[in-house]
C-alpha cells in the first residue's frame, strides 16, 4: 500500500503534466488550426493522430469482440470474468478513438456528414459506419454493468434478452472495420514498402487484432491487480496467453508465406531502417513472447504472462505504426525530401488521450462491478488498548470491499 501511494503520486504528477500539455495543444488546435498544432504537411497529410490514436487505438480495443465472442457465442463460460474488463476497454478505446479523430479531422463539426453523403466505394466510409455502429453496440454491451450498479432490473432483462444479437453484430462489425483499417492502405501500393503492402493487409489486420485483444486483456488484468487488487485467476490468464500465442503463430505463418510469394524477402539483409523495424516488430510480437512463455518459471507467473502480453502489445503498435508511417518514409524522402516526426503538441494530445483512457478505466474499475472480486468483506479491528471489557476487547466494523485502497 505504501509503495503504491508513492508510485501513484509520481504517475499522477506526470499525467497532470501531459494533460496540461494536451490542453494547451487543444486550444491551439481548435483556435489556430492543424498547421499551428501539428507537424503535418501537404507531403505527409497523416501523422501520429491517425497512425496511433485511430489505427492502433482501434486495434488495441479488439479484446471486446474477441472475448465477447469466446464467451457468448462459443459459450466457453470459463472466460466470463474476462468479458467485462475487455468490453470496458473496448468501449473506452472506441470513445477515445473518436476523440482522437475529432482532433485530426480538419472540419470535425461535419463528422456527421458520413451519415448523409455516403460513398460506398470508400474504405473509410465503411470504417466510419462500422466504428459508429459498433461504439453504440459496445455502449449497450457495457450497459449491464451500469444497470447492475444502479439495480435497474427491468432494463437489465431487456439487455440480457438481446445480448446474443448484440454480440454477433459486434463481431461482424469488428471483423469489417478491423480489417478495413488495413484496406485503407490498399489504394497506395506504389507508395508503401513491400514488407507492409500486401493485398492480404485486411486479413492481417484482423488476425493481429484478435491476438492483441487477448494480449491487452492480460495486460489490463495485471495492471488492475497492481493498482486495485482486482484481478483474474492465473490459470485463466494463462489460457488467454496460450490462445494469443496460437493466433500469433497463425498470423506470422501467413505473413511469412505472403512475403515469400511477393518476393519481398530479398530485402531482409539490406540493413535498411525498414528491415530493422520489421525485425523489431517480429521480435516484440512473436519471438520475445514465445521465449517468455516457454521459460519454466516465467511462463507460469503473472509477471511472465504480463511481460509476454505487453511485448505483443508493443509489437502490435510497431506493426500498425510500420504500416502507417515506416512503410511510407522512403517514399516521402525520395519524392519530397521530407520526413515526418510528430510535433510536441501532437505527442501531448496523444499521451493525454491515453492518460484519459487509464484514468477512466481506473474510475470504472473503482466504482462499477467490472472485475469479479467485487466482494464485501468484514474488517475486524484488534485494539491493543482495552476499551471496557478487559483485555479481550475488540469490535467488528464491516467495511465494503471497495474501500480497500
Amino acid at each position: 500500500m505504501k509503495q503504491f501511494l508513492s508510485r501513484i503520486t509520481f504517475w499522477k504528477a506526470t499525467a497532470g503534466l501531459f494533460l496540461l500539455g494536451g490542453l494547451v495543444t487543444t486550444v491551439i488546435r481548435f483556435g489556430w488550426g492543424l498547421g499551428a498544432s501539428t507537424n503535418l504537411t501537404d507531403e505527409t497529410p497523416w501523422g501520429l493522430w491517425i497512425g496511433f490514436d485511430v489505427v492502433t487505438g482501434v486495434g488495441l480495443a479488439a479484446g471486446g469482440f474477441t472475448l465477447a465472442g469466446i464467451v457468448h457465442v462459443f459459450h466457453i463460460k470459463r472466460f466470463e470474468p474476462v468479458v467485462r474488463p475487455a468490453i470496458l476497454t473496448a468501449f473506452l478505446g472506441y470513445c477515445l478513438v473518436i476523440v482522437g479523430l475529432l482532433f485530426d479531422l480538419g472540419r470535425p463539426w461535419s463528422i456527421w456528414h458520413a451519415l448523409i453523403y455516403q460513398n460506398p466505394h470508400s474504405v473509410l466510409f465503411e470504417v466510419a459506419m462500422c466504428v459508429m455502429i459498433y461504439t453504440s453496440v459496445l455502449a449497450l454491451e457495457f450497459s449491464p454493468v451500469v444497470l447492475e450498479r444502479f439495480r435497474l432490473q427491468k432494463a437489465l432483462k431487456v439487455i440480457k434478452y438481446v445480448t446474443p444479437v448484440l454480440i454477433i453484430l459486434g463481431i461482424l462489425l469488428s471483423m469489417l472495420h478491423q480489417s478495413s483499417l488495413g484496406s485503407l492502405y490498399l489504394i497506395v501500393p506504389q507508395k508503401m514498402h513491400p514488407y507492409w503492402y500486401s493485398p492480404m493487409l485486411p486479413v492481417f489486420f484482423f488476425i493481429s487484432a484478435v491476438a492483441v485483444g487477448l494480449g491487452m486483456t492480460v495486460v489490463e488484468s495485471y495492471l488492475s491487480a497492481r493498482a486495485f487488487q482486482k484481478t483474474l485467476e492465473t490459470p485463466l490468464l494463462r489460457d488467454l496467453s496460450k490462445m494469443m500465442i496460437g493466433v500469433l503463430l497463425v498470423y506470422f505463418t501467413m505473413r511469412g508465406i505472403d512475403l515469400v510469394r511477393r518476393d519481398a524477402l530479398g530485402f531482409l539483409f539490406d540493413g535498411s531502417f525498414e528491415t530493422m523495424m520489421l525485425y523489431l516488430e517480429v521480435s516484440l510480437m512473436l519471438i520475445i513472447p514465445l521465449i517468455l512463455f516457454n521459460l519454466r518459471n516465467w511462463g507460469r507467473s503473472r509477471q511472465g504472462m504480463f511481460f509476454s502480453a505487453f511485448s505483443v502489445v508493443l509489437g502490435f503498435m510497431t506493426n500498425r505504426l510500420n504500416v502507417t508511417m515506416t512503410s511510407l518514409e522512403a517514399y516521402y524522402r525520395e519524392n519530397f525530401g521530407v520526413s515526418y516526426f510528430p510535433g510536441i503538441g501532437e505527442l501531448m494530445v496523444t499521451i493525454s488521450i491515453v492518460t484519459l483512457g487509464f484514468v477512466l478505466f481506473g474510475l470504472a474499475v473503482k466504482y462499477l462491478p467490472i472485475f469479479p472480486d467485487h466482494e464485501e468483506e468484514t474488517v475486524l479491528r484488534l485494539d491493543t488498548k482495552p476499551e471496557n471489557s478487559g483485555p479481550h476487547a475488540m469490535h467488528a466494523r464491516p467495511v465494503p470491499g471497495l474501500n480497500r485502497h
Binding site: 481548435f30 483556435g31 489556430w32 488550426g33 492543424l34 498547421g35 499551428a36 503535418l40 504537411t41 501537404d42 507531403e43 497529410p45 497523416w46 465472442g69 457468448h72 457465442v73 462459443f74 459459450h75 463460460k77 485530426d104 479531422l105 480538419g106 472540419r107 470535425p108 461535419s110 463528422i111 456528414h113 458520413a114 453523403y117 455516403q118 460513398n119 460506398p120 466505394h121 470508400s122 474504405v123 473509410l124 466510409f125 465503411e126 470504417v127 466510419a128 446474443p164 454477433i168 463481431i171 461482424l172 471483423m175 469489417l176 480489417s179 478495413s180 484496406s183 485503407l184 490498399l186 489504394i187 497506395v188 501500393p189 506504389q190 507508395k191 493485398p199 485486411p202 519524392n335 519530397f336
Partner: protein, 300 residues
Amino acid sequence: MPHAILVDLTECVGCGACTTACQQVHQFPEVENPTMDAQNFTTLRAIETEDGEVYARQMCQHCQDPACASACLVGALEKTRDGAVTWAANKCIGCRYCMVACPFDIPKYEWASNNPKVRKCTMCYMERQLTTDLKVDAEGYVLDRSGERYDIDGHNVKAEDRDMIIELTTNADGKRASACSVACPMNSTMFGDRAALIGEAQRRIKDNPDTYVQKIYGLKEVGGTSVFYLSSVPFEDLGFYTNVGTENLPDHTWRVLEKIPDIVVTAGVALGAVYWITNRREEVRKFEQDVKNQRSQKKA
C-alpha cells in the same frame, strides 16, 4: 463529351503564363516559380537535360477512375462527366484520405485555416460554367441556376470578378477552356475533347519519332487519366510519377469492399449457428444435471 488537357513539353518555353493564369483565375497571390500547394494548382520545373532545359509542368491528372474520389468517404471528390475531378466544400469533413490516396500527391490542404479546404486543380470546371447571364444577389454575389450562391471550391464569386474569370477561361475561338491552356502563348497546353487530344498526341509521336519519346504520359497511367504529356526526354528524367502502374487504383480497395456482403452473410450465419449449437449443448448439460440431482435427492 469529356474534356482533357494535352501538354506538349517540347513546345514549352517555360514562360510561366500557365501558373500565373491559374493564380489569377482563382484569385491567389501571384508567385513566380510556385510549388504545388493550396494556392498553386500547377507548377513548372526547369530541368537540365542533354537536350537543354526542359520545363516539366505538373497538375492534377484528372484520372478516369480517381483514387481520391474512391477514397473520399463523403463523396466530396467527384469525377464529372466533363472529365474534371472536382471537390465539394459542403461535403468535406477534412479527413485527408484523398491526399494519402492520390498516386500523384496532388490534393493540398489549407493547414493554416480553421475551416480548411482541400484544394487542387479542377480543370477550371466551375469557372468554365460561369456565364454573364447569371443573376446576382443583393450582396453582389453571383447566383447559380438553382438560386444558390455560385460556389467554386467553397468560395463565392463576386459579380465584379465574374468577367475576369470568364475572360481567363475563354480561348481565342470563343470556346471555354482551362485558364492555363488559354494563357499558353506557345499552344503547348491544349484543352479539348479527350478522344481528339489522344488522337493528336498519337499523331505527333508517330509523325516525329525523332522528337518525341514514344509515350503519351497519362494515357495508361493508373488506368488512364485526362491530362496527357508529350516529351522529348524520358519522363523518369523529368521527375514524373512513372511507377504508378496501369491498374485502376480503386480496384485494389473495391476487390475487398465488394466481398463485404458475402462476408457479413457467411460470418453472420456461421456465428449464429455456433451460438445455437453451443447454447443448445449448454441447455442439455444443465437439464441432465437437474435430472441427476433430482434422482440423487430421491435416493436420499
